[in-house]
Each structure stands twice: as structure tokens, then as C-alpha cells.
Symmetry: C2
Subunit: 333 residues, 2 copies
């Protein structure tokens, strides 16, 4: 990856912030129905929201979505019965989600990622992409708020984040940190943003997570996806083997610790599976490896399973139990 | 108004920006049904969007909302027929909208404007208020985009705006200016924000407009409301007289130029009519007077009428025609 354009707006406030507990990626494939235009996987989103509450909040909590649903005339939460003495504590958490079946149609039809805002098609596609991804963002904020997570939607575009040659150029995290300090859970998302070299592009959720991890140093990062983890070949193939533990070395290379693979040097060639359109599994491992190199444990796990529940609770020990399915990516000891 | 806390983050980029054509306030009472929880006045919003297109865009333009509606399986705009050579030019425009029947229930139930984020009720209300106002923002962005306005939703909270003692403390306009420079129409809104003295508060759309007008100096500002303009008493009273032209003096005081009122000094006592819950007509005139004092013409006019269409086009001459209904607030010559 081109590293010439390092972020220029690293913020001193961020550097001195209280430690961040966790960053969670809600993969687009995990929370939307990939083959149905702009359709949320409601079951998965509900379970993921519930698991996040269990993992992050101690004590009882209130529903925080007091809006009505389209078609309904009433709100869901009975505010009059609110118990203002019901104290609960939410860990310092950031959620970043992908687009799945939101945004991709609009972005790919117009080529927003390739830039060229002077073209009417690209400008229209930029607007249409942001409408689609912010629609999803609002639904995720509502689902998490309904569970009691104090969720605040924050679009990278509105935060003033921008890129240069498609790499992050300006991404001040101070507004995110202020939201965390106030006790909220910022909910960010892959977004269409301005690019100083090509006009505009798509800033993916995975790149946002890497940037936030570098700046805010969470204890761990969880990627919730639609497969059990990282495989040695596309997981649809019958021979596919789940890579349970990947070690990242100081030079950025990685090797598979578990399971013991036949390949002598354990450095398997990971097939590119198009798990999401902003990058396949190789991209995901590359991003995860950068995070793990900072000493931050990364878990890639199937959303809405007992395995994701355990990962979100941060209760996975040094030696990963045999009955936990997922991939851990860690810095070599 | 307490002026001790002047904005600290005035941006040099903003000071050197290209001139802004216009700021338009979509009053909450004009675009929502005030007595129906979270219900948009669809007819008004459609007409207002159409009038904005006519007033701001020269040449034909494309629909930019390519998302599907809830319940529908298909998107509205046929992207395949997109004519990429169809150039149109959109004036530099910012839209700010109020909350109307969105947000007020959540904010007033929890007292977000009074602060106290450590209280569970206030924190929940903050989250609930933002869900409600961003829901409205998304619908307005969609309505304007459908008409062909390159609309970009930007929440003050996400932009990092905050208050101190309920006055704007930090409100960097550089992200708004970058969006304008890229050819977009930023759509801001009254929002729940962090307040450094009391934890949180509500930043009203009118205060946002005053700040943007001070920073970006548009040629004129249009307030779209649910009455024909400013009256000498609540407009529901049979004797109410529409104040057609108000002059603002250098000391900030104002007087009524048209119509000639019986009161000798033309300085009528404007009754406080609760046109919106973040401030009555006196607040509106006070905010408008601050803007007019900068030499910026302010029009207060009924939304979705021929009068709003003329105001949005910026075609009202020095001598306001007799057949135009509305209130002009201008700096004294």
C-alpha cells in the first residue's frame, strides 16, 4: 500500500485519550442481505446488537430509540416509565460498519472510487452513495440504541475526513474522542469522501478501523463477518481450512500458527475470496496485520454466533479454546 | 444574548472562500406536520424542493436519489439512462432545517437542552433526539437529491460543533466550505451537541444560520416558515398585520418601514408567537437582525407559495412589489 500520504491531522487530544476498550467492525456481508438491494439482515443485526450490549454494558439499561417506525404511529420505548436511577456503564467502544447491499450499487454504477467529480454521473453517484450508506448507518444506530447502547452516528464525510490518492489524508479523531469522553458509542461507516488528488473516492470501513486503531489503540478489534474466519482458500470450497491463529511478525509478514499446515513454512497463499467488494480476504488480513503489529489482538469471527459473543466479551484467553471458531491475528511474542 | 463565548474555530479557508449565494432555512413547521409525531409534510417538502431546484440550478438535471423506499423493491431513478453530458450548474447554497415534529418530543421529554449527560434520561434523550433529527435530515436530503440538488447531509455534531453555556463555542466551517467547493449543497440541521459547561444542549437551526452567515457572508438568507412572514401580533389574531419591511440599524435595533404603523416611532412590540419551540418570532427577528446587520438581506416567507419561489430566486428588487407577501429585513441605508 502506498504510504506516502500519512495522515496530517493526528490530534494531540487523541494521543492523551483514555484507553479505548474495543473497535468492532460490522461487516456489510454480516448485517445486510448481499443479493437484495438495500436490505438489512434483521435477524443478524438484532443478535449482534444484543451481543454488543452483553459484551459492553454492565447493569440494566434503557432503550434509546424513541422514534417511530415507518408505517407505525407510535414509538416503541415507553419513555414515561424511564427509571432515571438505573445506572449502567458502557465500555469505550467504537463501531464501524461496511456497506453490504447499501451503497455498492450506487458507487459501482457511477465509479465514485475512481474519482472525477466534474462528471455529472460521478457527482450524482456520490450523492446517491451517501444517501444509501447513511440510511444503513441510521438503521444500525437505531438497532444498537434500542438495545441500550448510547449510539451516535458519525459519517466520515461530515467529520471532515478526506483522502489523497485514495489513502487517508485528513482524519482528525478529536470529534470521535469527544463523543467517547461524553459516554457515547460512535458509529462510523465506509463512506464516499473527497480526495485531493482525484476529487472523490470510497473510504472503506476496514481502512477507517486501521486508522482508528493506530490513533486510539484499543485493547482488541473484532471483525464480524459472514464466515467463521479466514480460510486457506475460498470457504465455499470443500477442502477449505479455517486458519485459527495467525502470527504477525515485526516486518509485517504473517504466518499461520494454528492449524499446523502441510506447507513447510506455514506461509500459505490465501486465496482472494470476494467477501466484500472493497477488498477480499487478503486485504482484510493485510489491514488486520497492520493492527496486530501495534500489539492489538484482532478477531475475525462469524457474526451472530456464540463465537462472536465470546470475542465481543474480550474473554478469549492467550490459548484459544478448541471450541471457539474464528481467526485470531496477533503480534509474534 | 450572551456574547462572551465567541466561536474559537473561525477558519481562514472560510474567510477566503468563493462567495456563498444563499442560505435557506427550512422551518420545522413548514416541512413537518407539527401535531403528528415524526411526520413530514410531504406536499410542502416536494414543492420546496422543486422551488429550490428552479431557483438554484440552471439547465436540466438528474435525480440523485438512487435508493429504494421502504416497502418498495426497486429504486426510483433509472440510472442506466443517465446522460453524463447533461451539464447543469448549481449555485453555492446551504440548506439548514429545523426539527418540527422530529426531535422535539425526545428533546423535551429528556431535557437535553438543559444538559446533564450523567443522568441516564438525558443521555438516552440525546441519543433519541439525534436519531429523530437525522431521520428527518436523511428524508430532506433524499427529497432535494431526487429533484437534482447535489445534497450532502452534514450533522453539526459530526462536524465537531459544540457549545459553551449554550452559545456556539466551536463550529469550524471548513468541512462545509470543502463540500461547497466540490459542488455539493450541504444540508445541516438543528442538532443535539456537546456543551463544555453543561454537558449537552440543543443547537438550533436559527443559531446555525446566523453563524454560517457571519462566517460565509451569503448574498441573502431565506427563512421558509408556515406563515406569510412576521406579524405585529400572533398571526392567528384577526387584526394581525404582516410586517413587510423591517430596517435594522447599526446599533442592532430595528423598526418597521412597511406598512406605516400608527405607532409613532414604528417600533412595535412584536408579540411572542410560539412558531417553533426553539424560539418565537422575537427570537427569529433577533437572529435575522444580526444577519441583516452584516448587509445580508433576509426574507421570511411562507414555504411552498409563489412568494417563496420568488424569494428563493433572489429576484426581489430593492422596492418590494406589492403582490409579494413576506417580510424583508434589511440594513438601514
Amino acid at each position: 500500500m502506498d504510504r506516502r500520504h500519512q495522515p496530517t491531522a493526528t490530534n494531540s487530544a487523541a494521543a492523551h485519550a483514555k484507553p479505548l476498550h474495543c473497535i468492532v467492525k460490522l461487516g456489510g456481508s454480516a448485517i445486510t442481505c448481499k443479493n437484495e438491494l438495500e436490505t438489512i439482515n434483521e435477524d443478524n443485526l438484532r443478535i449482534v446488537s444484543s451481543q454488543l450490549r452483553e459484551g459492553m454494558i454492565s447493569g440494566p439499561c434503557h432503550g434509546m430509540d424513541w422514534s417511530r417506525r415507518p408505517g407505525s404511529t407510535e414509538i416503541q420505548t415507553v419513555v414515561d416509565e424511564f427509571d432515571d436511577k438505573l445506572e449502567s456503564d458502557c465500555k469505550r467502544l467504537i463501531v464501524v460498519h461496511g456497506a453490504g447491499s447499501f451503497g455498492h450499487f450506487q458507487a459501482s454504477k457511477s465509479g465514485v472510487h475512481k474519482g472525477g467529480l466534474s462528471r455529472p454521473l460521478v457527482k450524482s453517484g456520490f450523492v446517491a452513495t451517501r444517501i444509501s450508506v447513511t440510511t444503513l448507518n441510521l438503521e444500525i444506530v437505531r438497532a444498537l440504541a434500542k438495545e441500550g447502547l448510547p449510539s451516535i452516528g458519525m459519517s466520515p464525510f461530515s467529520c471532515g475526513w478526506s483522502t489523497c490518492e485514495r489513502n487517508i489524508a485528513v482524519a482528525d479523531t478529536s470529534t470521535v474522542v469527544k463523543a467517547l469522553d461524553a459516554g457515547f458509542v460512535p458509529i462510523l461507516h465506509g463512506d464516499a469522501v473527497l480526495d485531493t488528488s482525484q476529487g472523490c473516492t470510497i473510504l472503506s470501513g476496514d481502512v477507517i478501523i486501521r486508522h482508528l486503531a493506530e490513533q486510539l489503540r484499543p485493547a482488541y478489534v473484532v471483525f464480524l463477518t459472514d464466515v467463521f474466519g479466514v480460510y486457506d482458500r475460498p470457504p465455499t470450497e470443500p477442502e477449505a481450512v479455517l486458519l485459527r491463529e495467525i502470527t504477525v511478525h515485526e516486518d509485517g509478514s504473517w504466518s499461520v500458527l494454528q492449524p499446523k499446515l502441510q506447507d513447510a513454512n506455514s506461509q500459505v497463499e490465501i486465496s482472494v475470496a470476494a467477501h466484500d467488494t472493497t477488498g477480499g480476504m487478503v486485504t482484510k488480513i493485510s489491514e488486520a496485520a497492520v493492527i496486530a503489529k501495534l500489539g492489538i489482538d484482532v478477531y475475525i469471527v462469524k457474526a451472530a454466533t456464540e463465537h462472536s459473543a465470546r470475542a465481543l466479551k474480550g474473554q478469549l484467553p492467550e490459548n484459544i479454546p478448541d471450541d471457539w471458531l474464528g481467526t485470531v491475528i496477533r503480534l509474534a511474542k
